[in-house]
Symmetry: C2
Subunit: 342 residues, 2 copies
């Protein structure tokens, strides 16, 4: 269904803590017209990600927010409706992998920020999740940022989340003992029964620290962390000498608005880094976009064959994004959140 107007979601207020529906406004305008060398993309799927919260401001991040009144942006999958660019044909499905296409019905692109994707190979939403920048993020963290020894124990936090669920499954593909941490019994059951992890621990349950220690009897050799400060003090005592840690996200901190109260855990992490010879790294996935073909070559067969499962959570309708996006920060839904807007 293509409408005669272009709906756009703009930011009208900066949240403090969790975002609210009233921070956004849906505005209507004319469908944009592609110029020379440009294409018109009709967005079909919009990716909803933690970085969208950062764009809203007050997000405990070094990345600059967008201006109030500007459109929210993010990764999308769409279809070419008009092409003035020989690289694209009307009807081609494309993925907007730089996040520039935006939370809107229609977008114009010069082709530099979109890639053609195959709608027959896997469900389209997969190109936003396990085969999109989400999956690339998980893969880069485990393959290019860290250089983990084969075998050993990999712990993934927010393991039922978009990036975490892919990182955990890549870990299984590569032969690690994989232990996932997630919130609530539904998610931990999902991690073991659907994703095939070796163990899963509910951080909301009583005696979390004891249960995590029991699930990692030989300690933690590699940690793919998506959560940040809230779980770190519990994880640190279990980290093995020589372990490698990637900080892929700081979900527990993203809506922090106040300075954290004590005790101060900074001495603990510095001491661990020094005496346990740890490597702790962050990364910016955009610096690894040129590896996207290598990533697809490894992951596409695993996804098509069902070894790696897509964990998309879909909602319907662009107009519902403002209401549903805030759920991401309450951990209500597992997997990758995607809005179907066509």
């Amino acid at each position: 269904m293509s409408s005669q107007v272009n709906r756009r979601i703009v930011l009208i207020a900066r949240p403090h803590g969790n975002p609210k529906a009233s921070d956004f406004q849906v505005v209507e305008g004319p469908i944009p017209v592609p110029g020379e060398g440009e294409v018109l993309v009709r967005n079909k799927l919009l990716s909803l990600d933690p970085f969208n919260r950062i764009l809203m401001g007050n997000a405990n991040s070094d990345q600059a927010p967008i201006e109030l009144g500007n459109m929210m942006f993010g990764f999308t999958v769409g279809v070419i409706e008009h092409s003035n660019n020989t690289a694209f044909t009307v009807g081609d499905h494309v993925s907007g992998f730089l996040g520039t296409l935006g939370w809107q019905d229609y977008a114009v692109s010069d082709g530099s920020d979109i890639r053609i994707v195959d709608p027959q190979a896997v469900p389209l939403a997969t190109y936003l999740g396990v085969l999109g920048v989400t999956g690339l993020t998980a893969w880069v963290g485990l393959s290019k940022v860290l250089n983990p020894k084969p075998g050993g124990t990999l712990v993934v936090t927010a393991a039922a989340g978009a990036v975490g669920s892919v990182a955990a499954q890549i870990g299984k593909l590569r032969g690690y003992r994989v232990v996932g941490i997630a919130g609530g019994p539904d998610k931990t059951r999902y991690l073991v029964e659907s994703l095939g992890l070796d163990a899963a621990v509910d951080y909301k349950a009583e005696n979390f620290a004891v249960k995590l220690a029991a699930a990692t009897p030989e300690g933690i050799d590699t940690l793919y962390d998506n959560v940040g400060a809230s779980l770190f003090p519990t994880l640190l005592p279990l980290i093995n000498t020589g372990a490698q840690i990637v900080i892929g996200g700081v979900m527990s901190q993203i809506t922090m608005t106040e300075t954290s109260e004590g005790p101060d855990h900074l001495p603990d992490i510095l001491r661990a880094i020094m005496y346990k010879n740890l490597t702790v790294r962050g990364f910016n996935v955009t610096e690894f976009y040129d590896l996207y073909p290598e990533f697809l070559a490894e992951l596409t067969p695993a996804v098509a064959g069902g070894t790696v499962i897509s964990t998309t959570h879909s909602i319907e309708g662009l107009e519902n994004i403002p209401v549903i996006f805030p759920d991401m920060f309450t951990g209500r839904n597992p997997g990758k959140m995607v809005a179907k807007i066509d």
Copy 2:
């Protein structure tokens, strides 16, 4: 002067916080007798290091302390007094580089933990400082643990200290802009005037954060940290994207006995690691002992030629170690602390 008894310093009490003279006792015993394949070493110089504090216990470390009543150990330089090992001749000077020879007048070794050193090339104390494990630690951190880009700003904390002063000078050799952090105007003057650093900042002075920012106008690309938690919150905002950090020591934490009060800076460091794509690493220098020849090949000419200065602070007499060792933790003396015991 060789005595007829062997004096040994044993640990008789575990300190809380800074060590005290009464934690040690000097005991006398017979001179040990080397067996087959062994040598008798008369220690001439003992190295006093922060890790000796860790051996005493209650040191906020994962490394196990020694038992009460046992001898303190550390790096030494001595001379062969008797040899049943064809690799060593009476009169050879040797460095005990594994730290096993101990705080005593005489030691027996099977040769595996000592190396012959040249007393003509440089002053003997140099083999405990800039050309010893101290210097190796600085060199490994900058050469093997990190892989810093050429140029840029290197900040070294505790830059007037044993490891820091070598790290800072290696930084200058390699063409970095080097900024040292130390306590007090005497030390900062020493860093600029004697070691040739580009700038030095006194962390005890008022407006330390402002002065550090002024001394690093293009931010910090590489950080060799020896201090740990006390300076980190001031350093973090100045760290550049993609920066590399080695945690070579946690001097400010080593005598901590209580949990640190808030605010909690753990979220700050995790956020910085993630959004600034930092690499933060610790290391155990003993895993790099096989690189000692490569290290000596680079540093010996620089030390012999005076480009890299030895910063030894010597005290006299084994019997004075218990009284003077605690000074290390008050930051009273710059450079490498060495006891002359012959």
